[in-house]
Every structure is written in C-alpha cells, then in structure tokens.
C-alpha cells in the first residue's frame, strides 16, 4: 500500500469513526456501552476525529506534490510503503459495530458474570434508602434488602419494578429473578443484581424478556438461603427501557 492510499484510508476511517460515535450518541445506543455521566466523551471524540481527519485532507495534497518532485531519491523506505495492519485493526470496532447488532447486556451475560442479591456488589450509599418504596427500582430494593439482616424485614412492603427475567437451576419452578445490570463506568464493570420473585407464571416467562413486576415482599428462600422474596400480584411484559442499566 502506498502512502497516498494509506492517508486516504486513514482519513476515511477517522470520518467513519466520527459517524459511528455520533450515531451511537444520537440513537441513545451509547447507553448500551457507557454510563450517561460519560456521554459527553462521545462528543469530544467526534470533534477530535473530525479535526484529525481534516489535518490529513489538507496536508495530504502537499504530500502528493512532494512525491512527484522527489521521485528519484527514495531514501526512506518506511516513508514510501505503509503497513495495512494498523488500519485493519483500527477499523475492527467499526466493522463489529456494523455486523453485530447492538444489544445491551442481559440474562445471557449473567452466566459468566453472576447475579447477586448482595448490594456490596453494586456499591453506592444507603442514602438512597430515603426513596419512597413506590419509586424504588431493583437497585434501591437490593440496597433495602441488604440494610436488614432479617429475611422478614421487608414483609408487606409493596414494590413495582422493571427488569429482565433470569432463571437458572437454583430456582424453584415458581421462582425467577427480576434482574438489572448496574454500571459505574462502562460495560466492562457491569454487575448483575436481582430480586427473587415468586409467581405461578414463572415457568412460562422467557429468559431475558423484560417485565414489570408488581407485588409485595414476604420472607422466603432461594436454594435453601432465607431472604425476602417478592410475591408477584401482576407481571406485565414491557419494552426494554431506554437506559437498560442502573447506575449506583
């Protein structure tokens, strides 16, 4: 590959990458990958990528003139032939982003990451316990669960939460977990948390389907371990939320 081709390809890849970041930001799919508090980084990236691509475009022309003028003394071989590998590797995320449909982490990612009813895994502070029960999400409830050591500590409290369905062999036939991934920076640090739900419908719910569960807590157990269990009154299928993760 000649330097001229390399420069053109590099400028093209930079522009495509700027489009990639802009599209992720505009479509909201950026939140599949990083937390909203770092979304501004994508804007910085778009600006800098366009700036760098521009630098190629303007100086690239000069380079061509230079090539013609100095045709008979190729003293620097690295200046004449460019390796294609850096370009292929840098284009790899773009290719993957186009070929593989964007999807947030869900129940199928739990197998290697594990799912926890333990708030320590999710981090954050107890101050969130001041949120009124009706407004609490899965993370807030997991926090509340951990604030008490008594399996009956939440008895009678009513919950209304949204999450994905997760089941594994530990669960009884009428049990499943309503789960969410929590994120601090990006999906690299995602941790799954969930609440154990008891319902007759448990067996017919599809793994990874998004549901809204209304019900109240009662002391119960999962796989022999005593803990508060959400007794479902109503389970409705819902669309995946715009921000699929929760942020401690």
């Amino acid at each position: 590959m000649t330097q001229r081709t390399a420069i053109r390809l590099k400028a093209l890849i930079l522009i495509l990458m700027a489009i990639f970041f802009a599209e992720k930001f505009a479509s909201g799919k950026l939140y599949y990958y990083i937390g909203p508090r770092f979304a501004w980084l994508a804007i910085v990236a778009v600006a800098l990528l366009i700036l760098l691509a521009g630098a190629y475009n303007l100086i690239g022309k000069r380079k061509e003139d230079h090539d013609h003028a100095d045709h008979d003394h190729h003293h620097d071989p690295s200046g004449e032939r460019a390796s294609i590998w850096p370009l292929v590797v840098v284009a790899l995320p773009l290719a993957l982003g186009v070929i593989v449909p964007a999807q947030p982490l869900g129940a199928s990612a739990v197998s290697t990451r594990g799912i926890s009813t333990d708030v320590a895994a999710a981090g954050g502070s107890e101050t969130r316990l001041t949120i009124v029960p009706a407004e609490r999400n899965v993370l807030d409830w997991v926090r509340a669960l951990n604030a008490t050591t008594d399996p009956a500590g939440l008895d009678g409290q009513e919950a209304d939460v949204v999450g994905f369905v997760y089941r594994d062999p530990r669960f009884a036939d009428d049990q499943f977990m309503v789960g969410r991934f929590t994120l601090t920076c990006c999906v690299a640090d995602a941790l799954a948390i969930g609440l154990v739900v008891k319902s007759d419908q448990a067996a017919v719910l599809n793994q990874d389907a998004w549901v809204r569960v209304k019900g109240s807590f009662l002391a119960g157990e999962l796989d022999g371990q005593k803990m508060p269990v959400l007794i479902a009154d109503e389970i409705t299928p819902v669309q995946e939320p715009e921000q699929p993760y929760l942020y401690p």
Binding site: F21, L30, Y33, P86, L87, V89, L96, L105, A109, A121
Partner: protein, 325 residues
Amino acid sequence: MVTYIDSCLIRVGWFIMQIVVNQITIFTTVFLGIFIEAVPFLLLGTVASGLVEVFVSREDLARLVPKNPILATLVGGVMGFAFPVCECGVVPLTRRLLSKGLPVSAGITFLLAAPIINPVVLASTYAAYGWGPVLWGRFGLGLLVACTVGVIFSFHPNPMSMIRLTALPAFSGGSVDADVIPLQPSEPLNLRFRRAFRIAADEFFEMGQYLILGSVLAALLQTFVPQSTLLAVGSGPVISVLVMLILAYVLSVCSTVDAFLSLAFARTFTTGSVLAFLIFGPMVDIKSTLMFLGVFKRKTVAYLIILPFLLALLVGVFINLNVAW
C-alpha cells in the same frame, strides 16, 4: 429414523449456534464499551503529543528538567499536572517526550504516575471517596511507586536500548511520514497546528491498534472467564490484594473513572486491596501493556508490569497488616 436423527442434529446445531451468537454479542458489547470509553482519551493524548512535538523544543525541555536523575524522576512524577492524561493518552505522549530528550527515568515515572497524579483523577477520586486515606493514599503511594520504578530504571546503562527499533523512526522528529513537511521556525501558527494534528492522527493509528488489541483481549477474558470465581476468593490480607491487582489488570478501565468502579468493591474488600487496585490499575492493564509493547522492548515491558505489581502488592499488604482504618 434418518430424518429423526437429522432433526435432532439440526436442533443441537441451532442450540449451539444460539449460544455462540449470544457470546459474540456479549463480547461485542463489552469490547465496544471499553473502546468507546478509551478512544476519547487516546485522542486527547495523541493531540497533546502532536502539540508537544510542534510547540516544545528540546531546549525548552532540557531547561525544565533537572540533570540529577533522582530530581528528574520527581519532576516526571508530578508532570501529570501539566499534561492531564490517562493511561491511553500517556503512552504516545511519553514516547514524544523521550524523543525530545526527556531522561528515561523521568519518562518511565511520568508514564506510570501521570494516569494517577493529574487533576482529573484527583477530582474523580475525591468525588468517590471524599477527603480521606484512600485519596491521599492513592496519590502519595502512587507517586512513591512510580518514582521507585523510575529510579530503578535510571540505573540502566544504556536507556535508549529499551526502546523498540521500529518505534525509533518517530524519534527523528515526528511520526513515520510526518517528516515530509520540514520544521520551520517561522512557520505560521495555523500550519503549525495543522502539522500537530497530522502527527496526532498518525499516532492515533499507531497507538490505536494496540489499544484495540488490548480491548479485544480484555473483552474476551470478561466474556469467557467468570468474574465470580475471582471475587469469591477475595478475603484475607494477602489474597485480597492479589485478587484486586489481577482484577485491575483484567478490567482495563480508564484511570479517570476507576475510582467510581472501585467503590463497588470497597465494602467487601480490604482497604489495602482497594488502594492497590487504585495504584496499580492506572499504571498497567491489558490495553496499556499492548501499547507499551509498541514502544518498548519486551523485556522492558515485563519489568514495567512486574515492578509496579510487586510494589503495589507490598503497599496493599503492608496497609492491611499494619494500618487500621
């Protein structure tokens, strides 16, 4: 009968394919997550490097950095305040500063310290932990570890030999092909900026390939190795530190945000292990290892990993055994 077996095979095949597709999707999400978070910082680092190349001369740098190797190391340690970069941006910038005549000991210290000792990381660590032992422990002990490694490297008889031969063209003033536009002292400002961005763009590809390969490795490990096994063994004053060090290396999260992440472990893990995580993670992780390999020889990279690892281990275990917070 044959059709029955066939349909079974098709079902098994379908099932396996679904698992494979699932794993590929998870891998892609994690990989793109690391990539999307790291790229803006790599871009900032390469732009800083381009600006240094164009606006800072060897003489400027020689005036600013003391001749004494120990003092130079200290200057390298606090230089992060002048160049606020994280571990993705610091590699191209360090290479540029070395090519401008920065002593290798100061360069190594800068490479390890800048991702911790800089205003952005200071702010995020303060936001996560407030004013307390974790904050000043991270900065004080992080600086200590970085300077110690820098001083050790300063004893190398021929420091330039640690740098990879293929990385050397960059030392003749600019990236591989940026030398086509000769340096002119009277160059107008807009052309100088343009040249700086051109150098930054070349460097983005040169360093970006290592960043991306590193992100691929980190995402593969995260997709196929269960994290819970690592966390399950996470107690005890020594084991907990080892676990957090390995986790810091594998997760490869940017140093500007890793303080928030470590909060998740702050309750279950010992203070020493969290501090070791906050000191070691910014210095070395999978993606920065790959980027180091683009600049330094393999043996040097090995020392760049092992020395901070051992020192962070020492710090973490010492705190767990001797300090009660």
